[in-house]
């Protein structure tokens, strides 16, 4: 059941109505049943997976908590169970292919997969929530006593498929002391859902076809065209995923629950480290707490920190998908973070020796704008690795992006091929759309900073909702692609 489907448009109000009309005792069971129905609407059999992992992790939590001598082995068993389950569904083909490539030179081949493996929806997200749970219990948090609450924590339908990755310490208390119906939550929830739908169906989906054309057939285009496609994808993935998160947060709010934010205007980041504080926040903080810090974090020698960054981001890349281009994307971000750390250290070193000009230049207004533009372009280069279907396509695109073709003298005569495309509308319209989207980021920054929406008169807020309803209804494409993060 997709958030942007008619089925969800019916499902959500029914569950909300049932939830608030029921006695408080029945509300958690109602949400749990609704969450399982939501999950089963895709492939009913996978309910066994989420149920199985819930039961296993529930008991692991208690064993880890109660055991005095065997805390570590229990934790190891719990993490291994979760990771093995994830690996089986997500990485079996990847590992089999890697093994095949390794064995090929010696004329051997691994056995063919005896059955087809389908990747269960949301597995990467709920497995990470389970790992967070068992690790935190190991670190001293109290395990969740109520099996119902624990089951709902993992399967809560608004965040079930693509996060945000929740923390049980924030979430469980909301079950235990349920909120009362509030019209403020209702208004905020519905406006978030509308905003999310606007981002997804109007912006991301309309950009999707344009982006696909460029990324599937880069050979048709030249350097400038490919930059336009790359910018378009940067906005597509942002609006797709942040739109999804808004709908998830809005849906949760309708039941009186708060789930964490996942995005904070990421393309306004002034450096790559700041970008990761603003992009997919629930994943980056998870990676920080359960991978980077256990690896040693920022402690130890400089090279150890760089190594930790590289490992964390490479595994973060692989988490997105069992494919080489995701791994390379992760390695790229790891390298950029390490470079940023080196640069920061050089700045401090220079400042300490009386050469503060570099810091002053970077901290100036012009420096801030240039840093933001530079960071955005670094992220865009990463997006090429992320979006390209294969490493070969990514390589071709990157080569063209940096004018290698022009050096070789093979750039087509015309400066850009895009304006010559007569079809469909998104091609000529893109030159209007992209500047508007870039500007929208800056405007949203101002709106957030000044808390403009909250301070607006009721009539303005109502008009905004009305405009969103009209635009979503009228301008949504006939066919809406799935949310990008559903594949992870």
């Amino acid at each position: 059941m997709l958030f942007n489907s008619l089925t969800y448009a019916l499902f959500l109000p029914i569950v909300v109505a049932l939830y608030w009309a029921s006695p408080t005792k029945l509300r958690v069971p109602i949400l749990l049943i609704a969450s399982y129905i939501f999950y089963m609407s895709w492939k009913p059999v996978f309910i066994l997976l989420i149920l199985g992992l819930t039961v296993v992790n529930y008991f692991f939590g208690f064993y880890i908590h109660r055991s005095e001598k065997h805390k570590k082995p229990w934790l190891f068993a719990a993490v291994a169970t979760n990771l093995l389950t994830l690996s089986f569904f997500k990485y079996a083909y990847f590992l089999n292919d890697a093994l095949a490539s390794a064995l090929k030179p010696i004329g051997m081949a691994p056995p063919a997969m005896p059955f087809d493996i389908i990747l269960p929806l949301g597995i990467s997200f709920f497995v990470f929530e389970f790992i967070h749970y068992v690790v935190d219990v190991y670190r001293g948090s109290e395990p969740i006593k109520s099996f119902l609450a624990f089951s709902l924590f993992a399967s809560f339908f608004p965040t079930q498929i693509a996060g945000p990755i929740k923390r049980f310490q924030d979430f469980i208390p909301q079950f235990l002391s349920p909120a009362k119906f509030s019209i403020k939550d209702f208004d905020s929830g519905v406006s978030l859902i509308l905003l999310g739908l606007f981002k997804k169906v109007l912006l991301a989906d309309n950009l999707a076809f344009f982006v696909q054309g460029g990324f599937q057939h880069p050979e048709l285009f030249n350097s400038l065209d490919l930059w336009v496609f790359t910018y378009a994808f940067a906005f597509q993935i942002y609006f797709d995923f942040s739109g999804y998160t808004d709908i998830a947060r809005g849906s949760a709010m309708l039941f009186g629950y708060k789930v964490p934010i996942n995005f904070n205007l990421p393309y306004l980041a002034k450096n790559i480290a700041e970008f990761w504080h603003r992009w997919h926040i629930s994943l980056s903080t998870w990676l920080r707490d359960y991978l980077f810090i256990p690896l040693g974090g920022s402690r130890g020698s400089r090279w150890n920190v760089y190594r930790n960054l590289m490992i964390t981001m490479s595994l973060g890349g692989l988490w997105h998908g069992a494919s080489m281009h995701f791994l390379i994307w992760g390695v790229f971000h790891g390298a950029m973070l390490a470079l940023h750390k080196m640069f920061k250290e050089s700045r401090t070193w220079l400042s300490e020796r009386g050469h503060g000009w570099l810091s002053s230049a970077i901290d100036s207004k012009v420096g801030s704008v240039l840093s933001t533009l530079f960071t955005f372009h670094v992220v865009c280069i990463g997006w090429v690795l992320f979006r390209a279907d294969t490493l070969t396509i990514a390589g071709d695109m990157l080569r063209k992006l940096f004018f290698i073709d022009s050096i070789a003298g093979t750039v087509p005569a015309q400066a850009m091929a895009l304006p010559a495309i007569n079809y469909p509308l998104i091609y000529p319209a893109i030159f209007l759309l992209l500047p508007v989207l870039a500007l929208s980021h800056i405007i949203m920054g101002y709106v957030d900073k000044t808390n403009w929406v909250e301070r607006s008169p009721r009539l303005v807020k109502a008009a905004w909702c009305c405009a969103l309803m009209l635009m979503i209804l009228v301008f949504s494409p006939d066919k809406s692609p799935k949310f990008i993060y559903f594949q992870f």
Binding site: A420, I421, Y423, P428, L432
Partner: protein, 396 residues
């Protein structure tokens, strides 16, 4: 007291106020459009084949003597046949008159009828019925309908429902199809969407609003004006193919052209796999429903005094062999019996002794050579057909 407080809280909701504003706006649009008629049902944001055809037909000054209906089998025979006969490239979105049929019939009968082709790729029996019902009426009513049919037009496995075709969607804005609303839709989502469209003006007039937005974007966008007025094929074929699978049917003025069958004809394309899929596990429900629309077409023609000639289109023996055993014969006898019962004629032009592999572009579509041959054979048969002769000689 609690009830009052709750009511007050709801009244303070800006979302509910927004919803109310939306409903007022929607009703306002409806009232204004009813008063000033600023939308046209023929307007569409995407230039689909039914859009080109319906708008082309509206521009016709008089009713044709013969209207051609059918799917891509009739469509390719018409365009490729004329391109070959006239030795001239034909533009599929604006070539509506069948030179082959007109000239061959003139040779046979001494009378040159006027024609108009409504044959569109993917046309199902339900689409043919709707075209006849909505467009072939009043002073635009033809004397004869020649409907080229093949099993795919009744059983296509890839069709979710009768209401899911572009033809159905487009024509349902011109005419009221409430009487078939339930039978044409198979899923709950489709029914729900239909209900919403009935209720909300902005949803039912979505194509008009998108068309306006497109015009605005083309006007404002740099290069847009150039793109919309350009008369040359500009979109790379790879992108068109991608768009075809993901976007609504849309073809520019010069993007669909067919040339004469020449010294170097297009190589034969084996589309066996595609048809294996289409014929695979025939959905009885679709078949029965589409046969129902065929019968509706026959009854409608009879009621309006239009002579309907149902023509079984040529297929390669290999394609017929892909159908479940006995299905093809059963289909022919069913359609034949239905025609006989409803005053229509059934002509079986699938004659393997006449249409050889050289006449086909793939396992089902005729090439230019085949197109000419098909219309020759059709004209021969029509010239001998009394019902056809009688219908053509009537004055309207």
């Amino acid at each position: 007291m609690a009830k009052e407080a709750r009511a007050k809280a709801f009244l303070s909701s800006y979302v509910l106020l927004g919803l109310f504003m939306f409903l007022v706006l929607d009703t306002g649009f409806r009232v204004a459009d009813n008063a000033f008629h600023f939308t046209s049902p023929f307007e569409s944001p995407n230039r689909s084949l039914i859009w080109w055809t319906a708008n082309g037909f509206v521009r016709e000054k008089s009713a044709p003597d013969i209207a051609l209906l059918g799917s891509s089998l009739m469509m390719t025979a018409h365009h490729a046949g004329d391109a070959t006969k006239l030795n001239q490239v034909q533009n599929e979105v604006s070539h509506f008159h069948s030179a082959c049929l007109q000239d061959f019939l003139a040779d046979k009968t001494g009378q040159k009828p006027t024609t108009f082709s409504f044959a569109i790729a993917g046309q199902m029996a339900s689409d043919s019925y709707l075209i006849a019902r909505t467009l072939l009426a009043g002073d635009k009513q033809p004397k004869v309908i020649v409907y080229g049919i093949a099993p795919r037009d009744l059983i296509d496995n890839t069709l979710p429902s009768a209401a899911s075709t572009e033809t159905f969607r487009y024509l349902s804005r011109i005419d009221d199809y409430s009487d078939i609303a339930l039978t044409a839709r198979t899923s709950f989502n489709e029914m729900f969407q239909f209900g919403l469209e009935k209720m909300l003006y902005s949803l039912s007039h979505r194509p008009n609003l998108i068309a306006w937005q497109h015009k605005l974007a083309y006007t404002l966008a740099p290069f847009g004006q150039n793109a919309i007025t350009a008369n040359e094929l500009q979109t790379p074929f790879k992108l068109r193919r991608l768009a075809f699978s993901q976007l609504p049917d849309d073809s520019g003025a010069n993007e669909l052209k067919v040339g004469p069958y020449g010294a170097e004809p297009e190589p034969y394309r084996d589309n066996t796999q595609e048809y294996r899929q289409r014929y695979k596990s025939i959905k009885q429900k679709t078949y029965t429903s589409q046969l129902g629309y065929l019968e509706k077409l026959m009854k409608l023609s009879k009621e309006r005094g239009i002579q309907l000639i149902v023509v079984n289109m040529p297929l390669t023996p290999g394609n017929v062999a892909l159908m479940p055993a006995g299905f093809y014969d059963q289909y022919k006898s069913k359609v034949g019996a239905m025609a006989a019962a409803n005053g229509a004629e059934f002509l079986d032009l699938n004659k393997p002794n006449i249409f050889e592999q050289k006449h086909f572009a793939d396992t089902v579509h005729l090439n230019g050579l085949g197109g000419v041959e098909f219309f020759k054979l059709l004209s021969d048969e029509l010239a001998l057909n009394r019902s056809f002769g009688a219908a053509l000689s009537t004055t309207q």
